[in-house]
């Protein structure tokens, strides 16, 4: 039970972090039709910027400044790059962001080297906050959840309560009409793209400290975020939310469980041993199979429910 | 096939988008070989009806049959293979391909080449002859190697019809074939339609009344998703309900165009 609770907390906090990433990606995708391949690179840049700032002024300045920097970079990318290739269609945009992701990774190599950075949880947040049964629960995990939730509430309020939010919502469904009404749609695009990048940057700031900050962190998390968007349903924020929590919990639970198919079948009364054909498949531990599970869910989803959890369009 | 089987039959076809009902139970029977026009004011649901028949949208309820086959719920390509081809109101062609390529692609399925990756398309005589014949029909033979995207508007409309008839489907649906054309262009298009639909069943949506009354054997009037009348051009002219609902605006329009 105690194990379950701790894992659930970890899963939810990881899931919320993933949602910070997937919400930006989804928003940009549904608004502009652009699938931002470099989204996870913005996440990485958030962590690296925050590290750099923290070496000068400490963690808290990084928490605020790094996402803003990443957001500004995002806007710049939209303004000088994406807008140019927009005329060539969505595949060209995707290629552009792919090239960008490639370039950002190499630039990170160039500036900060290939090794992991000593970017850690600040001392004020280090240590346990409360006890679940007998095991202490780290304060930083709770902080992560707090940041994610407050940020998401802020985004939600922006989308539903402000004028620009309402325009964005209208532009989601009827971009031409919104443009015809005299709103500057390209500027909205730029703002949303920058906002999505800033969200990803913030996720990087808090995620980088919790996990690891190295040049492969973008590649490690990027495909997972794509899986979330597909599983949740392309363009659905609610779907992305549930899929983020699902994948977050799934990954957290599966890495700590040693269940095997062989064990399951044995309890069901089959006799299994190393001589059974395909033993290497039956004896894979769940923890070993953990990296594959999100993709497996995606494939199953595509076969049985191609729209995704809450998707509306079925192209 | 029994000659009495209608080319197309709609039974209580309904369509709603969300809570809005666009088509309120349309019944329509079109005999084989008939040239049938659907007229009606803007927003009456004419294009929606076409999209339902050709399988672009699924119907909400009701049945549609094509030459005796029930095609309710079929995909566009299944319906096309059963012998129905359509054109679009907004030109829908392969812009990056040449005129010849456009037509050639449209002939491939009906000539039985399917997904073949063992025939060399340039060596298929039947494909070439049929494509050239169609290009001759639509008057684009001299433009065969021009990229479709750079054709003039009227030429693109002709190509649109060419793609539609290239598969030799017995039932043809034309969605406002003369939309946006000048008077002379429309007259040419009308002659073209008359020529290429020889011996086929034609169902068309058209706003230009001179085209409608010049071409159609029968006319149906669609108003707010309901078919309020169906009959020969003379009957439609004389129909009081039509006069009231629609033709009141028809006479000025005929004079204007």
């Amino acid at each position: 039970m105690e194990f379950f609770l701790v894992q659930l907390f970890n899963g939810v906090s990881y899931g919320l972090l993933l949602f910070m990433l997937s919400s930006g990606l989804t928003l940009v995708f549904s608004l502009m039709g652009v699938l931002n391949f470099a989204h996870a690179s913005f996440y990485m840049l958030g962590a690296y910027f925050a590290f750099q700032i923290s070496t000068w002024t400490g963690f808290w300045a990084g928490l605020v400044v790094a996402p803003l920097l990443v957001g500004a970079l995002g806007m710049l990318v939209e303004r000088v790059g994406l807008r140019r290739v927009h005329a060539h269609g969505h595949v060209a945009e995707l290629l552009f962001t792919f090239g960008l992701a490639y370039l950002i990774e190499e630039a990170v190599h160039l500036i900060w080297g290939r090794a992991a950075l000593p970017y850690h949880v600040p001392a004020a947040l280090d240590g346990p906050l409360f006890q679940i049964a007998d095991s202490p629960y780290p304060m930083y995990r709770v902080f992560m959840m707090l940041i994610s939730v407050s940020m998401l509430v802020a985004v939600w309020l922006t989308l539903t309560r402000t004028r620009i939010g309402l325009v964005i919502q209208a532009a989601l469904t009827h971009p031409d009409t919104v443009q015809a009404l005299g709103h500057n749609v390209p500027r909205i695009f730029m703002l949303v793209f920058g906002g999505g990048a800033a969200l990803a940057g913030l996720a990087g700031v808090i995620g980088g400290a919790a996990f690891v900050t190295d040049p492969s962190m973008a590649i490690a998390v990027g495909p997972i975020v794509f899986v979330i968007v597909v599983v949740g349903g392309m363009g659905s924020l609610a779907g992305a939310f549930f899929a983020s929590l699902l994948i977050g919990c799934l990954q957290t639970f599966s890495v700590s469980l040693d269940w095997t198919l062989a064990g399951l079948l044995t309890t069901l009364g089959f006799s299994m041993g190393p001589d059974t054909p395909l033993w290497s498949v039956w004896s894979i531990k769940l923890s070993q199979a953990a990296p594959v599970l999100p993709y497996l869910i995606m494939v199953l989803m595509l076969i049985f429910r191609p729209r995704g959890l809450m998707g509306t369009r079925d192209e | 096939m029994n000659t009495n089987t209608p080319a197309l039959a709609l039974h209580e076809v309904r369509k709603q988008f969300g809570a809005t009902q666009i088509i309120h139970g349309v019944n329509l029977v079109i005999a084989a070989g008939e040239r049938h026009a659907i007229i009606g004011p803007n927003g009456a649901g004419k294009s929606t009806l076409f999209n339902l028949i050709s399988g672009r949208f699924p119907v909400s309820s009701g049945r549609i049959s094509l030459r005796g086959h029930d095609i309710t719920g079929c995909t566009p390509f299944q319906i096309n293979r059963l012998g129905l081809a359509r054109s679009f109101q907004v030109t829908n062609i392969f812009h990056r391909m040449s005129v010849f390529e456009n037509i050639r692609c449209a002939t491939l399925w009906s000539l039985g080449y399917g997904y073949s990756f063992w025939h060399r398309v340039g060596a298929l005589r039947d494909v070439r002859e049929r494509s050239e014949q169609v290009m001759e029909h639509i008057g684009l033979a001299r433009r065969r190697d021009i990229s479709a995207g750079v054709l003039t508007y009227a030429e693109q409309r002709a190509l649109e019809i060419g793609i539609t008839i290239a598969g030799d489907a017995p039932v043809i649906l034309l969605d406002e074939p003369t939309a946006g054309m000048s008077r002379t262009e429309a007259a040419q298009a009308m002659a073209l339609i008359q020529r290429v639909t020889q011996g086929r069943t034609l169902l068309m949506v058209e706003h230009d009344m001179s085209v409608v009354f010049g071409l159609a054997d029968r006319i149906s009037v669609l108003v707010y998703g309901e078919c309020i009348a169906s009959g020969t051009p003379a009957e439609i002219r004389a129909n009081a309900a039509v006069q009231e609902a629609y033709l009141g605006s028809l006479h000025p329009q005929t004079e204007a165009t």
């Binding site: 995708f29 039709g33 699938l35 790059g81 140019r84 290739v85 969505h90 595949v91 995707l94 290629l95 552009f96 090239g99 490639y102 190499e106 190599h109 160039l110 500036i111 080297g113 590649i219 794509f226 968007v229 597909v230 290497s280 498949v281 894979i284 199979a289 990296p291 594959v292 993709y295 497996l296 995606m298 595509l302 076969i303 191609p306 192209e315 | 096309n80 293979r81 081809a85 359509r86 829908n92 062609i93 392969f94 812009h95 990056r96 391909m97 390529e101 692609c105 491939l108 399925w109 997904y115 073949s116 990756f117 060399r120 398309v121 340039g122 190697d145 990229s147 995207g149 750079v150 598969g167």
Partner: protein
């Protein structure tokens, strides 16, 4: 960019083109007897097949895949096991035909994964292909029994009895095997573009909706096209298995998938020979440049990004649009603007390369030596002078390139206008 497709019956030009290609394949290794050149050529041959097969998706059917290495990699794994069985004597099969086994494996995996990926098109297809790629990569590491884990599976290509003295011991024999397969695959893939399926793949790329209304199931078109493409990817994979005698997880990795995407795009997706050019350029980049600098990936990424922004048709397109100008004997008008642009770009590149190299040096090897030797120049990366110089070069070069390109554009527009007037 309106390329007009012209109908031509089998003509002399086409025979000449294929003949020259074959001749190049035969003669290429004779120009240099360095083993380095042979490695380069073999790698090019493999990548030519791989990127042509990739372009069956991207260029011909509009499917942007981020997981094409899955098919070449799994094909290579099956091939390496087959080769080991041949070595043990449990399987009797000529090594020369091993790519057929790998190709069939690619076809089988293409039919499995393609069933899922081709359900969608456009952006969604791209995401799913990435997901499938990651899944396969994770699976490869999960089953070390079959896939050999991180280290991969090694093999020995010199097995079975020699046919006509061909043992595949010497690298030159392997090169000719690769060249033969590359040539056959080129012809086969070109022939495929001329079939009903190939034509419809283009139609589905341009306007999927219309394709549905002329009787084609667009999903089926994409699916078959992907399976065929996976076959050729498998052929490329088995050739790399023979060439390197090792197959590892890297063969199915996202890096491979990204590599073939970059190679194909740089070459040009709109023309059949584009990916061939791309494969040659990419190999030169990867092998030649990587021996000079550690920053080659950065340069490659920059080059790719510039192509996406300014020349989305790739190098092949850049070449192709010069042909009408050349034919009209107007290319001389462009010589001067072109030379200016190239000169300016060269200054910019020198500035860029200088800055990047010093950055790399400072970041990666800051512990030891602080000096770089450049063409006899001893540069100290801790002093500001070299940084100022390279930055100035970069900035001035960039500005000059901008102006030169405007010059080129003006001349180009004038010539195009003149050509159009001649045509009408």
């Amino acid at each position: 960019m309106n390329t007009t497709l012209r109908y031509r019956p089998l003509n002399l030009g086409r025979w000449l083109l294929w003949g020259t290609t074959a001749l190049i394949f035969v003669l290429a290794p004779l120009f240099s007897d360095a083993s380095f050149a042979l490695t380069l050529l073999s790698q090019m041959g493999i990548l030519i097949i791989f990127s042509l097969s990739y372009n069956m998706l991207l260029g011909q059917s509009g499917m942007l895949s981020f997981g094409h290495a899955v098919y070449s990699g799994l094909g290579a794994y099956i091939a390496v096991h087959a080769l080991n069985f041949i070595g043990k004597g449990t399987l009797h099969f000529p090594v020369s035909l091993l790519p057929l086994i790998g190709g069939c494996a690619g076809l089988v995996f293409g039919s499995i994964f393609g069933y899922v990926t081709t359900k969608k098109s456009g952006t969604t297809f791209a995401m799913i292909s990435l997901g499938i790629g990651e899944m396969v990569f994770a699976c490869v590491l999960m089953f070390p029994g079959f896939f050999g884990g991180e280290g991969g599976i090694t093999t020995n290509r010199v097995v079975g009895s020699a046919v006509l003295g061909v043992t595949y011991g010497p690298a030159i024999q392997v090169y000719y095997l690769i060249a033969a397969w590359a040539f056959i695959c080129m012809i086969a893939m070109f022939a495929l573009t001329q079939t009903p399926l190939g034509r419809m793949a283009n139609a589905v790329r341009d306007n999927p909706e219309r394709a549905e209304f002329i009787g084609y199931n667009t999903q089926r078109v994409r699916y078959i096209q992907l399976m065929l493409s996976a076959f050729f990817a498998g052929v490329a994979g088995s050739l790399s298995c023979i060439n390197y005698e090792i197959v590892s997880a890297e063969n199915v990795s996202a890096i491979r998938s990204g590599g073939v995407l970059i190679a194909t795009f740089i070459g040009g997706v709109g023309l059949f020979f584009g990916p061939i050019l791309g494969a040659i350029l990419f190999t030169l980049f990867a092998i030649a440049l990587s021996s000079f600098t550690k920053a080659w990936l950065l340069y490659l990424g920059l080059f790719f990004l510039l192509m996406v922004l300014y020349a989305p048709g790739g190098v092949a397109w850049l070449v192709a649009i010069q042909l009408p100008v050349l034919r009209a004997r107007r290319l001389t008008d462009l010589l001067w603007p072109y030379s200016l642009a190239i000169l300016a770009a060269a200054v910019c590149v020198i500035g860029l390369v200088g800055s990047v190299e010093m950055l790399y040096h400072a970041a990666l090897e800051s512990g030891g030596d602080r000096h770089i030797q450049w063409f006899g120049l001893n540069v100290d990366v801790r002093t500001p002078t070299p940084w100022l110089v390279t930055s100035a070069l970069l900035l001035c070069g960039g500005l000059a390139t901008r102006y030169a390109m405007q010059f080129v554009q003006r001349r180009w527009d004038t010539i195009q206008l003149a050509l159009r007037q001649v045509a009408t």
